[in-house]
C-alpha cells in the first residue's frame, strides 16, 4: 500500500498519477478466519483495526452486504462530541473524540477532523439546569466543556437569533474541542489500514446464517459461501435484530428511520456546530459550504432508509426560527438511515448468550462520534472474551439487571 505524503503527491504529479494503486484490496473470502466482523461500516472496520493494532489478531475478515461505509457511516451529520452526563458514556465518547484528534496521522489518511467546537443550546430553564449539571459532571470526568451565556453564543455564532419566537436562547453547553470529520474518509481510512495489516474487507457478501456447534459459534453462511471462524463480531446497526435472530438470541432494540438533509452551498456563515434540542434541529456547515441539517427519528419501526416528511418540516421550521437567514436556502439532498434504538438510548458492546459471538449495536441516533472508541472497546471485548473498562457498563444484561445508562434525560433525541 502506498504511503500518502507531500512527497508522494509530488512524485505522482510527475507521472500523471498512475502509481497510486488501490487503497484497499478486493479479496476472495478464505475458508476460515480467526475472527469475522459482520458489517464494514465505521464501527465494524474500527473493531477490526484495533483487533490488529492492539491485540495482534490479524487473520480477520470484515463482511459487508452492500458497499463499504454505505450504511449509517455515510448517512450521518458527522458531529463529534463527548459532553455526556453519565460516566460510562463520557468515558467511551471522550476516548473516541481523543482518538479522532490524531486519527489522520495514525491511519495516514486525511479524515479532515475539524475541532471547530459544538454548542448545545439551552432554550428552556430546564435545559439551563440540565446543561449546568452536565458541565459540572464533565469537569469531574475530565471532559472539557463549559456553560456559556447568550452573549458568548452570539459571538461564536453570529447568524443565530437569540430571541426566538418560541424559545429564546438562554445559554449553551460549549465543548470547544468537539467538531466534525469527513464521515466517508473514516470508513475508507480504517479499511485501508485493515487491508494493509492483511485483513480481508469483503464487500457484496451478505451473511445469511450463523452456524453454531455445541453452544459456540462455528462460522457464518454467506452469499459467497460458508466461512468458519473462532470469534464473530456483529456490528450492523439497523439490522442487528436480524443477525441476533440468526444467532439465536433477542435484543432490546427497535429499528427506526432517522433523516438528514443538506442545503445548496453558500459562503462561510458559521464555523461551529449548533444543536438545538428543544426545537429539535442541528446544523453545521461543511467544507463545501453546504448547511448540514439533522432531523428527528420516526416513532415507528421501519427498514426502508426513508423517513416521514413531516419530521423534515419540523426540523426545517426549528432551524428557520433559530437561524432566520436560512429561510431562502434550497435543499439539495435528503436521505434517511436505519438506526437501532435501545431501551435506554445507550449502546450495547457485549458478549452474547452464544459463546464466541459478540455484539456492538444500539448506537441509535449518534454512532458516528463514537467510532474509534467503540472499535477500541469492542476489539478489547472480542480479544479477551471479557469486556474491558470502557465496554463493561454497556453489556447486554444491563436491561435485565436495571443498570441503565440513561442519557435520554440529558439529550432528548439527538445524542
Amino acid at each position: 500500500m502506498k504511503r500518502y505524503s507531500a512527497f508522494a503527491i509530488a512524485r505522482e504529479a510527475l507521472r500523471d498519477h498512475t502509481g497510486w494503486g488501490r487503497a484497499w484490496g478486493n479479496p476472495e473470502p478464505r475458508r476460515r478466519y480467526d475472527a469475522i466482523i459482520v458489517g464494514a461500516g465505521g464501527h465494524g472496520l474500527a473493531t477490526a483495526y484495533y483487533l490488529g493494532r492492539n491485540h495482534g489478531i490479524r487473520n480477520v475478515a470484515i463482511l459487508e452486504k452492500g458497499w463499504l461505509g454505505g450504511g449509517n457511516t455515510g448517512r450521518n451529520t458527522t458531529i463529534i462530541r463527548s459532553n455526556y452526563l453519565q460516566d460510562p458514556s463520557a468515558a467511551i465518547y471522550e476516548k473516541a473524540r481523543s482518538l479522532y484528534e490524531t486519527l489522520s496521522q495514525e491511519l495516514n489518511y486525511n479524515i479532515m477532523y475539524s475541532p471547530r467546537g459544538v454548542m448545545m443550546l439551552a432554550q428552556t430553564e430546564h435545559e439551563v439546569r440540565g446543561y449546568r449539571r452536565t458541565a459540572q459532571a464533565n469537569a469531574l470526568q475530565g471532559v472539557d466543556t463549559e456553560f456559556i451565556g447568550p452573549e458568548r453564543v452570539k459571538a461564536l455564532c453570529p447568524i443565530i437569533r437569540l430571541e426566538g419566537p418560541r424559545y429564546p436562547v438562554l445559554g449553551a453547553l460549549w465543548q470547544p474541542r468537539a467538531g466534525t470529520a469527513r464521515h466517508d474518509a473514516v470508513a475508507w481510512g480504517y479499511a485501508r489500514a485493515c487491508s494493509e495489516m492483511g485483513m480481508h474487507v469483503i464487500q457484496k457478501c451478505e451473511v445469511t446464517g450463523i452456524r453454531r456447534e455445541g453452544g459456540r459459534v462455528a462460522g457464518v453462511d454467506t452469499t459467497r459461501g460458508p466461512i468458519d471462524c473462532d470469534k464473530l463480531g456483529i456490528v450492523v446497526a439497523g439490522h442487528s435484530g436480524r443477525l441476533a435472530e440468526m444467532a439465536g438470541f433477542r435484543l432490546p432494540i427497535e429499528s427506526v428511520a432517522l433523516q438528514a438533509l443538506v442545503s445548496e452551498p453558500i459562503k462561510p456563515a458559521m464555523d461551529v456546530v449548533v444543536m438545538a434540542n428543544t426545537v429539535h434541529g442541528y446544523l453545521s456547515q461543511s467544507d463545501k459550504g453546504e448547511m448540514v441539517i439533522g432531523g428527528g427519528a420516526d416513532g415507528f419501526n421501519n427498514y426502508t432508509q426513508r423517513g416521514s416528511f413531516h419530521h423534515v418540516e419540523e426540523t426545517v421550521r426549528a432551524l428557520v426560527e433559530t437561524f432566520p437567514m436560512l429561510s431562502r436556502l434550497k435543499m439539495l439532498r435528503w436521505w434517511g438511515g436505519i438506526v437501532d434504538m435501545t431501551g435506554d438510548r445507550s449502546p450495547i458492546i457485549s458478549k452474547t448468550p452464544l459463546e464466541g459471538c459478540f455484539i456492538n449495536c444500539g448506537w441509535g441516533t449518534g454512532g458516528f462520534k463514537a467510532i474509534p472508541g467503540s472499535g477500541w472497546a469492542m476489539a478489547e471485548t472480542m480479544a479477551k472474551g471479557e469486556p474491558g473498562p470502557l465496554a463493561a457498563a454497556f453489556s447486554l444484561d444491563r436491561f435485565r439487571e436495571g443498570r441503565f445508562i440513561d442519557e435520554s434525560v440529558a439529550a432528548g433525541v439527538a445524542h
Binding site: 435484530g241 435484543l251 429499528s255 427498514y303 426502508t304 431501551g343
Partner: protein, 109 residues
C-alpha cells in the same frame, strides 16, 4: 406519509394525526413471572423486517387506541383493527397471507 384508517371513527388518518404506541399484543407479566419474563416484556421486541403489528392512537381525532398490521420494508398497510383483542383477528391474518404467503410473527402465521 403513512395513512391508517381508524377502526373506530372510520377516518383515514395521516401520520401527523396519529401517535405511535409501539409493538402490539405484549402480554403483561403477572406476579408469577420471573426476571427473564419481565425483561422480555419490558425490553425485547420483535423488530421484524417485514410483517409487524403495532399499537397506534388516533391522537388528533377520536382519541382511541387501535392496532395496525404493517410491513416495515414496504410501509404497506394490511389493515387496522380495534384494541380490544389479544391477537390479530382472522380477516387481518388472511389479508396478510394473501400478500405475504408464509409470514410469521411471534408464533402467529
Amino acid at each position: 406519509m403513512l395513512r391508517l384508517t381508524c377502526p373506530y371513527c372510520g377516518v383515514a388518518a395521516e401520520e401527523t394525526e396519529l401517535a405511535p404506541g409501539g409493538e402490539a399484543h405484549l402480554a403483561r407479566v403477572g406476579p408469577e413471572g420471573n426476571d427473564d419474563a419481565f425483561h422480555a416484556y419490558l425490553f425485547e421486541r420483535e423488530n421484524p423486517r417485514g410483517v409487524h403489528f403495532e399499537r397506534w392512537r388516533h391522537a388528533m381525532g377520536c382519541g382511541k387506541w387501535f392496532h395496525a398490521a404493517r410491513c416495515t420494508v414496504t410501509l404497506e398497510v394490511f389493515g387496522t383493527y380495534p384494541a380490544q383483542t389479544t391477537e390479530p383477528p382472522a380477516h387481518i391474518r388472511a389479508a396478510i397471507t394473501a400478500k405475504r404467503p408464509g409470514w410469521a410473527w411471534r408464533g402467529l402465521s
